[in-house]
Point group: C2
């Protein structure tokens, strides 16, 4: 059995959900590039489209939208594909990590859509931020979004508690917005119960783009960093250290071999 | 403050730790390709080198090694770079996720190495497997390696317990080898305490390569699947469902909006 069923209906078209990676064109995979070059219709959030617009076929119809309109975007993509079009739905990072891959399937299921759907993976923010920071994710890690728009805060807090207690390196997505400022404070409190105040924390904004910024802090003073909607916050585990401005989590070789 | 200090010493060279992604050349990022084309020396595990050898500069010196020789590989790369060479150290997937990025920094620190080190991110196995499966990672998730070669089994079990109890989608790396067969059974037991027996589980082998295989199972019957060293096992959360052979975890839109 394979899930690779990308062509299901001769008359219907296809939605390719394309991960463009962190934004630098040299981190865009050739498969994603080909999808952008070949698409008849390209749909996405304006900011992401601008990062890759040099890759579009000049003949393509481009539908850009503001933030927070994910449902409209996915619905439009499916509707056009159902009518035979070849559609690229553009996501930042990887489409499967806090992006639109899941929503496309949910909508297609509810609408009994028969077009083909292909997910083209990309380098996710967590991978790109880790590379910029050094090697913070090298051991078991958890990814948690602090946005409680779609998830009850109690569940998010339960996950923060579990990740902190079991010494997972932890990547926080959507750590803070203009309206949501207390969540990151609560996350810090929870981690301080379980982890040393000196635990390294890396805050990366716009990894790999022109306005990239990297801040290295400790768990105790992480809130002094500039943290925004597009920041990704990586909290080290009990073994993580800083060496020459790099944040590194050992894999465990030093305990077993002479390094 | 930035961690982007890639050139530190005029006489020393550079180690680029290159993530080649899951193996398909059209998922290799241009930055990784450029590093492979430009390197004077290319070092890596034989299987990964064979996947990308068409990208090498024909003049490059290629040092391939067997499995389990990560320390030798990293040491060699640093030694050559310290002597002025431009070295690409090849990793499967993303160098920062269960690969060699961390070990390079650990060794460089211990040896007071002064060469430059650059991490080039790649599409990790967890991203590639998710794309093949559908959209299983769409909500908070944890990555756990079941290999107890370098990590005490008690800690791994603690993390399995935490991830299972807090309803994280969970990706298991190194689930099973010829010698390690009980760990995946114990993982299943732990998840069955906290999650429904019908929870979808996706097992992917060699995502994006010629010998790719995808198996969709439930938590109850996951051990009937073929699981090997190179398999990645993704266990859904309490909301994950299967639709037309795709494994999908909802992000939460359906609870708030009409889909």
């Amino acid at each position: 059995m394979t899930a690779h069923n990308t062509k299901k209906n001769k008359d219907a078209g296809i939605v390719r959900v394309v991960g463009i990676g962190p934004g630098a064109l040299d981190l865009l995979a050739p498969r994603a590039l080909a999808a952008l070059q070949g698409a008849e219709v390209i749909i996405g959030y304006r900011t992401y489209l601008e990062l890759v617009e040099s890759c579009f076929n000049p003949e393509a119809e481009v539908i850009s939208s503001a933030m927070m309109q994910e449902i409209d975007r996915c619905r439009k993509a499916l509707e056009l594909a159902q009518n035979g079009r070849d559609v690229a739905l553009v996501c930042g990072g990887d489409p499967g990590i806090y992006a639109m891959a899941g929503l496309v399937f949910e909508l297609a299921k509810n609408q009994a859509n028969t077009c083909a759907i292909e997910i083209i993976p990309g380098i996710a923010a967590l991978n790109a931020c880790a590379a910029v920071l050094g090697a913070p994710l090298m051991h078991d890690f958890a990814a948690i979004s602090l946005s409680d728009l779609l998830t009850p805060w109690e569940l998010i807090e339960k996950r923060l508690e579990a990740a902190a207690a079991a010494d997972f390196v932890t990547v926080l997505y959507n750590p803070k917005s203009k309206k949501r400022t207390s969540q990151i404070e609560r996350a810090q409190e929870i981690f301080l119960v379980h982890r040393d105040a000196a635990t390294p924390v890396g805050i990366v904004h716009a990894a790999g783009r022109g306005d990239e910024s990297v801040q290295l802090r400790t768990l105790a003073d992480m809130l002094k960093a500039e943290i925004g909607m597009q920041s990704t916050v990586t909290i080290g585990n009990s073994q993580t250290f800083i060496w020459q401005n790099r944040m590194v989590t050992p894999r465990g070789y030093a305990g077993k071999y002479e390094l």
